[in-house]
Amino acid sequence: MSLEVRGLTKRFVGLIAVADVSFTVEPNEIVGIIGPNGSGKTTLLSMMAGLLSPTSGRVLWKGRELQRLRPDIIAGQGVVKTFQNPQVFAELSVFENVHVASHLRLKRELGLRRALEIVGAARDVERRLAERVAEVLALCNLGGATRQFAGNLSYGEEKMLGIAMALMCEPELLLLDEPATGLGRDEIRNLEAVLDKVRAAGTTLCLVDHKIGFLRGLAGRVIALNYGQKIAEGPPEQVLNEPAVIEAYLGAGHARA
């Protein structure tokens, strides 16, 4: 088992955003989390990445608790999250953005010996790092935009850059917050191709989205949320036909219609 969420709850003042949600994510799986707006998907993902602390419940990664750790430590342990509204370093080039994200790899490779890099004694490591950045950009089909400022990218490219940066952290579990929202049809096809390659390289994916068609093709297992509660879990076709899910999305009248 790689990740286990146990009774996770988040209460904001007067509102329960996530209520007692439990599920697991197995290695090399693609898990999709669906639910209407405000059903607690992003809150759930944020708690898994350490950006929000849960009111109660636990997140276990390889048997170790994550919920009290800082986001940078969680990232260092192999759980990395992208943002729903793409976050990039707008003033830096696309290459530099991904280069910044190479921090964890450098740390793993050199440890404290990275201090030597200041006096120029670790040039070969830096060179390999730059090569890896180029590889990641190629994998994400951003190779043509390397020198552009991140602030000049289109919305879809910014989202892809977010994924590229997360990949540069070499995650074992990649948490994607609405990767397909706001993208055009070609961009979604591109995203699917990239995510297929990522999974083929051995990364486990957990993604949140409300584009059901997108998730249906990609996810092996789907979890449906409504008002912060888990209402269904299973293979995509089965979950999407559950009356509770149809009701949550389309209203009571459409169930079994």
Binding site: L51, P71, D72, A75, V100, E117
Partner: protein
């Protein structure tokens, strides 16, 4: 790059070409303030933290270097090292408090200013050691080894010119090495988007503290040099106006560059000497130039020039 090499070359050649003590004096002050401005820019322009702690480091290191020389009999160079160490300790204590509480922008500025003022009050009232508001006279001179004549004191404008220029060069070199490494990438990430930096595995607290400690440690050399050069130290070294001066230099020259703060330092130290006006008028003109630059060239002199140059190239 070659432009910068030329600039440094010109600075090193200047005393060979110009024999004006007046000009050399301006440059000596430029270089000492340059050290302060460059190290401030490491913290402010590169890491995005508006620190107001530089006066404290400037003053404490000026006092400490002198007092260690007088009471412990240390030579100037040996006395600068404990001062730098003390600066690191101060920076780590103040930085840890500020960064643990996640103080940013304005709040960080105000709290570091408060710490700086606290230290100023201690220095001002600790009469037995610092002689209070009357200040101390620094009679000693830095020394160096000169082949043939042994250990000689450094005096006279040319010797001081080279001493301060070398110190500035070393400061810029250390800063640029740090900034070109992974450390600079982390500093930039923190300046541009702290939350994103965090999710990419960067320990934001640690790198803010590192930037703050390196900046203040290097700034301490400016304090020691200034006290020895002017021959006089008083609590005014730790005043808030020092912060304003350094901030003005960085904004004027160009934040987020290493050459900008030096240019700013040259303009703001040279200007009062170059313009021969009554003191009040000079202050007005000085203020007007500052306001004008910030309004018209928000990226400072160096930032504007390099943007203009890259536009012409492309």
């Amino acid at each position: 790059m070659t432009g910068q090499a030329l600039l440094w070359g010109a600075l090193y050649a200047l005393p060979l070409l110009v024999r004006s003590d007046f000009l050399l004096t301006i440059f000596i002050f430029t270089f000492i303030y340059g050290i302060l401005a460059v190290t401030f820019d490491l913290i402010f322009g590169f890491t995005g933290q508006l620190s107001m702690f530089h006066p404290a480091i400037f003053g404490v290191s000026a006092y400490m270097t002198h007092l260690l020389a007088v009471h412990a009999g240390l030579p100037f160079w040996a006395a600068t090292l404990p001062s730098a160490a003390a600066s690191v300790v101060l920076a780590v204590v103040v930085g840890s408090i500020c960064f643990k509480f996640r103080l940013k922008t304005f709040y960080f500025a105000v709290v570091t200013l408060a710490f700086s003022e606290m230290i100023r009050l201690v220095v001002m009232n600790w009469n037995s050691v610092t002689n209070g508001t009357l200040g101390l006279v620094v009679a000693g001179k830095p020394t160096m080894y000169w082949p043939g004549s042994g250990v000689v004191p450094i005096k006279g404008p040319v010797a001081w010119y080279y001493l301060t220029l070398v110190c500035l060069s070393v400061t810029v070199l250390i800063c640029s090495r740090c900034l070109r490494s992974w450390m600079g990438r982390c500093f930039g990430a923190i300046r541009l988007n702290e939350d994103l930096a965090r999710t990419l595995g960067i320990n934001v607290f640690r790198y803010k503290l590192l930037s703050f400690a390196i900046g203040n440690a290097l700034a301490s050399f400016a304090g020691g040099l200034y006290g020895y050069y002017t021959g006089y130290i008083d609590p005014g070294y730790l005043g808030i106006n020092q912060s304003m001066e350094v901030l003005a230099m960085v904004l004027l020259g160009g934040q987020g560059t290493l050459i900008g703060p030096i240019v700013g330092s040259l303009v703001l130290t040279g200007l009062p000497h170059a313009i021969d006006l009554r003191a009040e008028l000079r202050a007005v003109l000085y203020g007007a130039i500052l306001i004008f630059t910030i309004l018209v060239m928000p990226r400072g002199i160096v930032g504007t020039l390099s943007a203009w140059r890259s536009r012409r190239v492309s």
